[in-house]
Symmetry: C2
Subunit: 216 residues, 2 copies
């Protein structure tokens, strides 16, 4: 399918490359149509890869990934244009990290509302699905980098958008039974507030190639 | 050893009972010296179990557990008395849940400071260790209720207090390699902010007998 990826950082490039490898046509969006990261990515990824503005990428995609940093996401999505997101699954993988006090960063979201909920409120016609924000971007698109069973979470109000996203996750290599549907978009608070623990586990493991598994 | 347990709810009773079963002398503290929950617990747990005020329990313990609800913990600890906590390992297992908007609850802590840090600041002479707040109280004291390997986290500034607490956790049944030391007391933000995810996983699993495992 045609997919728009907003953001040219590590996360955007990892997801966009994986999508192209799986046969999708992907347009990477950024503030300017000639962003250098995006140009490098296009050069490396062949005919199914293209670039443009946030609005170009959102208009192009039948499904859109938000891979921008969380503190910029609402501004980016406004630049992408509500009309280019209407009716589409909008996959939000962003975290709102605050590096202003040094490392490890803290969070800019409150414990009362997630970024995903803010996005869903600001773009009521988009079908927002929060997922993949709880791990390193290499693990997102290749869960076999972490041995054994471990989980990815999905939150969203729209069942058909969640089904579409779960299908993509399975194509990334996530076994269906390891994809945990937490419920509606308010449940995104869980995975978003998990990030401070992820950051400390990163400190313990010393690499991003880890994840958590639900055991019961 | 002699241990004070502050709080007479499910968590306090589960921990206090396990400690008595392991041979410790335990005094359960509450607002009043004749609390009914505590009296029932004393009656069920024999000669090594006793009860008193928060101050009685804190003065009695060579080590003290905070098993009160997080929104009351600072008030309870002031009632227990800074002088009764000085130099002691103070094991904080509390979560600051806000049920005012219904279920599932949200958190009263911010993303910038944990309850454990607030306690350590308010009681600088106590050696605060955050642990066990990331699971159901039955799993806290009997990790074999969840099959296979899974983790408990420890945060604190004082290495000897953490060693003492890790020893207690091992006596509860936690294998040493499954006890993850996240670092100083600021790392308690991770396990405290994990609770919203725990609450959603509880919704998914349908029982409290689960936990997460670090996989890498």
């Amino acid at each position: 399918m045609k997919i728009g990826v907003l953001g040219t950082g590590m996360v955007g490039r990892a997801i966009a490359s994986r999508l192209v490898a799986l046969g999708h046509e992907v347009k990477m969006g950024s503030r300017t149509p000639d962003n250098e990261n995006a140009a490098e990515w296009v050069a490396a990824n062949g005919a199914r890869a293209s670039q443009g503005t946030f609005a170009d990428a959102a208009a192009f995609g039948e499904l859109v990934f938000n891979c921008t940093s969380g503190d910029a996401s609402l501004v980016v999505l406004r630049a992408a244009g509500a009309e280019n997101l209407t009716g589409k699954a909008l996959v939000d993988v962003a975290n709102t990290l605050d590096f202003s006090q040094g490392r490890p960063p803290s969070l800019l979201v409150t414990t009362k509302e997630s970024l995903a909920e803010q996005i869903q409120s600001a773009f009521p016609e988009a079908r927002v699905v929060k997922t993949l924000n709880t791990m390193n971007c290499e693990v997102m698109v290749d869960p076999s980098l972490v041995p054994g069973r471990h989980n990815v979470f999905v939150s969203g109000n729209d069942e058909s958008a969640k089904s579409e996203v779960k299908g993509l996750l399975q194509s990334f290599g996530w076994p269906g039974e390891d994809i945990l549907d937490l419920g509606d978009i308010t449940t995104a608070r869980g995975p978003e507030l998990y990030i401070p623990l992820w950051l400390r586990l990163y400190g313990t493991v010393g690499s991003g190639h880890f994840n958590i598994a639900l055991v019961h």
